[in-house]
């Protein structure tokens, strides 16, 4: 019993310590961004990496998501109304407001987030991060901020790309399976959708970008204990990012709704 209490207490303490360290990282990230020169070269390298690495996968994910949405919507509305109605509307709304931002963020967390945690983790355990410090560079400025900015710029773009590929995938199914003409599909979308719906999904991607980049960087730079530690850090980065994406998606939606951006 006392063993369990001890273990639980240790867990709480460790959790608190990690949260403290994490908020320190977040604070220094914003501190450095406002007060120091930004490493644009590093930022650009990271943008290319995150963007180019992820685009094929995120596009494909969105494409098939759009297709399955169209398939499901068509099937159920056929079942209820005997004809496929509002397929374009459902596909576009689901994608633009929820699925594209969330799925893109999750895929990027799995690819780029894991890569970041593994790279920074290896640098940490081989003392390369200490070496940065001795060579007059702040690791947060050199490693964390470029990745943070890269995510903030690239993830929203990837999401917009997902919006379009998803809607296109939906159209292909709507057309091939339910013979819905392009004009109808497009009208279903434009007649019902407003710019604020797009903004709703778009704004959420910034929250996801911040979460994935900061969590991955944090797990990387706090890695301990050799190759095994790097493995653990990578797994933790991906799992925590994914869970936080889903949790924060709810709260971000609630906040945006409260501001009438729905």
């Amino acid at each position: 019993m006392s063993g369990a209490i001890h273990a639980f207490g240790k867990l709480i303490l460790e959790g608190a310590e990690e949260t403290g360290q994490f908020s320190f990282l977040v604070r220094s990230t914003f501190g450095w961004m406002t007060s120091y020169r930004i490493e644009w070269r590093q930022t650009l390298i990271q943008m290319v990496r995150v963007g180019v690495e992820s685009l094929p996968v995120t596009a494909m994910t969105a494409f098939f998501t759009g297709m399955v949405l169209a398939l499901q919507t068509g099937a159920s509305s056929k079942h209820f109304f005997n004809e496929p109605l509002f397929v374009g509307t459902v596909v576009a709304f689901s994608l633009v407001m929820e699925l594209a931002p969330v799925m893109t963020a999750i895929v990027v967390a799995g690819r780029a987030g894991a890569a970041i945690a593994a790279e920074l983790g290896t640098m940490k355990v081989t003392e390369q991060i200490d070496a940065l410090y001795t060579l007059g560079t702040d690791p947060i400025r050199y490693l964390v901020i470029p990745r943070f900015i890269a995510f903030m710029l690239v993830l929203p773009l990837l999401t917009v790309a997902s919006d379009f590929t998803g809607i296109f995938g939906g159209y292909l199914v709507a057309h091939a399976k339910y013979q819905i003409p392009a004009t109808v599909y497009w009208h279903d979308i434009t007649n019902n959708m407003e710019i604020r719906h797009f903004v709703h999904g778009f704004l959420k991607t910034f929250v996801f970008a911040a979460v994935v980049s900061l969590v991955s960087c944090f797990k990387g730079v706090t890695t301990r204990g050799g190759a095994e530690g790097v493995g653990k850090a990578t797994t933790a980065a991906v799992v925590i990012s994914m869970v936080l994406i889903l949790v924060l998606d709810y709260f971000a939606t609630a906040v945006l709704n409260a501001f009438g951006i729905t």
Partner: protein
């Protein structure tokens, strides 16, 4: 001048440094010797500010390391130092010359056009050439060590902390590096702390030698005095004998095991 007073450093429950008092005068090279795991690297990291002592203080040129607060102050402090990591710690995503000149961007205002030339010059100093475009993974262990040394001296710091500069080098290269450390001290008036297990190199480069044992400084003296030291610990270490007051853990274990074994038999 580096002045350490009562430096204590703990990792969790283990106390590694138990009150280190040492003063390194400007322009001298202090060599630290001592058994594996006695905290030599830890002490160097405390000096440059990678570790923060739990108590005691380290004062460099009148500045207490613990008092450095703003980024600007920390940057100015680091600018004074070159640091050779025991494991090299080369950036494996960069080429050799990018590694060597990495610090110049932040520590100096040398124009970037001159970087390659500087890299080649530093490589020549450590006895390497034509490796500028290699990645660290393409180098041998001794080459990595020397590239790391080249990186530590590239920005011409006034203090250099060498963590085992000659480990893993052949005897000739060891002497070349020892000469380099001497030259830096004589010509550029570098103040240095060097950790080494190589007594020959230690006698060659040291202005004074400090022996660490169990987190304390056992003796600090001129190399000639260390050579004839009366202290049994120092004696055993510099002579490299397995018999003596410093019991290696392995020996104790073996001795115990062996006696048990004998006891069982009889």
């Amino acid at each position: 001048m580096i002045d350490a007073e009562g430096v204590v450093k703990r990792f969790g429950p283990r106390t590694i440094l138990r009150g280190i008092d040492i003063r390194v005068e400007t322009g001298e090279t202090l060599v630290i010797i001592g058994g594996s795991g006695c905290g030599k690297s830890t002490f160097l990291k405390c000096v440059i500010g990678l570790h923060h002592p739990d108590s005691g203080k380290i004062v460099v040129d009148g500045v207490n390391v613990a008092d450095l607060k703003t980024e600007r102050e920390i940057a100015d402090y680091r600018r004074k130092f070159g640091y050779l990591f025991q494991e090299g710690a080369l950036f494996d995503s960069m080429t050799v010359w990018e590694n060597i000149t990495f610090g110049l961007r932040y520590l100096t205002d040398i124009p970037t056009g001159k970087y390659r030339k500087i890299a080649s010059d530093c490589l020549a100093l450590v006895g390497l050439k034509d490796v500028e475009d290699f990645k660290p993974s393409e180098l041998s262990g001794g080459m990595k060590k020397r590239v790391a040394l080249a990186r530590a001296i590239a920005a011409q710091p006034s203090y250099i902390l060498y963590d085992e500069p000659t480990t893993g080098l052949d005897p000739i290269m060891t002497d070349v590096i020892a000469d380099l450390i001497l030259d830096l001290q004589k010509q550029l008036k570098v103040t240095a702390i060097a950790v080494t297990h190589d007594m020959k190199a230690a006698y060659k480069v040291a202005s004074r030698i400090a022996m660490f044992h169990e987190g304390k400084v056992l003796q600090v003296a001129h190399p000639e005095i260390i050579k004839i030291s009366e202290n049994p610990y120092v004696r055993q270490f510099v002579d490299g004998k397995s018999e003596g007051p410093i019991k290696m853990k392995l020996k104790e274990f073996e001795a115990e095991g062996a006696s048990n074994h004998v006891a069982k038999k009889s």
